[in-house]
Amino acid sequence: MRTVKHVTCPVCGCLCDDLELTIKDEKVVKVKNGCALCKAKFLGYSKHRVLKPLVRKNGRFFEVSYEEAVSRAAEILTEANYPLLYGWSMTSCEAVSAGIELAEEIGGVIDTTSTLCHGPSTLGIQDVGISSATLGQVRHRADLIVYWGSNPLIAHPRHMERYTIFRKGRFQKEKRKLIVVDVRKTETAETADIFLQIKPNMDYEVLQALRALIRDQELDVDEVAGIPTERLEEIADTMVECRFGALFFGSGLTMTRGKNRNIDAVLSLVSDLNKLTKFIAMPMRGHFNVTGADMILTWQTGYPYAVDFSLGYPRYNPGETSAVDILLREESDAALVVASDPVASLPRKAAEHLAENPLIVVDPHMSATARMADVVLPSTFVGIESGGTAYRMDHVPLPLKKIVEPPEGILSDEEILRIILSEVKRKKAEQMENP
């Protein structure tokens, strides 16, 4: 029996780095400090594993060697005209980096699950700009917290305990105020000082109404999205009167009507507030390294997601080069999915085309997507069986640890991508020699 301290949790964008794990016979048997999601992962990850590479022949899976599976994968990718490389939010930055190289080599499109969660936030940030801070600053200084279209008690269970409401800060000793805006009374809303239950698809109107009130303009309506104007005035006052406000927004804003325009409005509201007090905004990033995937893509290509290499140089135009649009237009002719389960998460019409493509899946689990694959390359769990780097939602990079040995012979995402890349290069060189 041994214990490992300061372990980073590879589940959500909070990337808590204070876990203490007890290991017995190369198995995690106890998790200290983690939330329910974290425990579910560390104690349950070894179930439903794929332990041998699989290749589909005549509709059925056959176990093969990595060599054979990689060769088939490289064949699919070199033959394709417009391959889509999708996923990337639940693996290390190092694997993402290898994936980008591969996308460039084969002239494909690389897109991350950002496209399904905070892609619109990125568009909003590119339009308006964002005033931000680290979660450490929020923890020590913020006296007003706003969660808008986000339910951290469920999706980021320790966010409130580590950084906001349930935590005392060095310079913020009194209880902080909490405002929650949502379309239903979520678990988080139950803990709020002020809860605004607004009508679905009307966030934009409420945000713009608050902007008007903060600029001392009068509203000549009695209510907005079901909220009486006096109530909105009260919120506007609370926001203006705080010393340091932090507004966290979730997919309640990005997935509803308005999408990136909602984000424009929320960031403009925060920008207005900064003329009167100190306010920051932050998207509540979901998967543990979705922020890292954005970061690495930005370094290597100049763009954060939906990057298209088909012309030989990176292009970025979400709506055109983003995964869902490419799949709905049925344009891709092969796909590689890494560390994600799009068949379970994309709208069905998009998932259908993905399944129709020759499909390569790199994943430790038998997921719904792996079930559709033509080639399955089993990989290690990053942050449990192999190390790497990940970015927390506030852009702080943290190390992911290798805690236990992977099952015998199983490679990491990064290793698998590197050998696919060299196999692709080898095949291309071969073709050049014998055209």
Binding site: I154, R184, K185, Q197, T256, V343, R348, A351
Partner: protein, 131 residues
Amino acid sequence: MKVILVTGRTVKQGFWKEYGKFSKAYMESVSVCYMDARDMERLGIKDGTNVQVSTKHGSTILKALKSTRGKHSGIIFVPYGPWINGVVDPETDSVGMPSFKGTQAEVEPAPEKPVLSLEELLKKQFRKLNR
């Protein structure tokens, strides 16, 4: 009955997906539809009755559960997952993001129709598995 469909995360969905998506627990955690108690009364259904949720994009069978999240008459809440993905609006409005929240939908009682398992659902929805 006309409603607005909101999809999202739940504790159980977040928990069981870590255990594997072909598990019964995962299926039971996401093939459900949380409804306002008054809406259920109006439909004449009980906690646990199956319902059919349809939009112009497709339909699915889910188990209706009484929402414990305050009053939200006219809104149904379904966890993210393959059961509801055939029903949400795939339109990205040219920004890459489908409309997972806030889709107009229709709910009707379907006590005689079964909720499919993930394997059955995938077989029904994806031609590739039937070749």
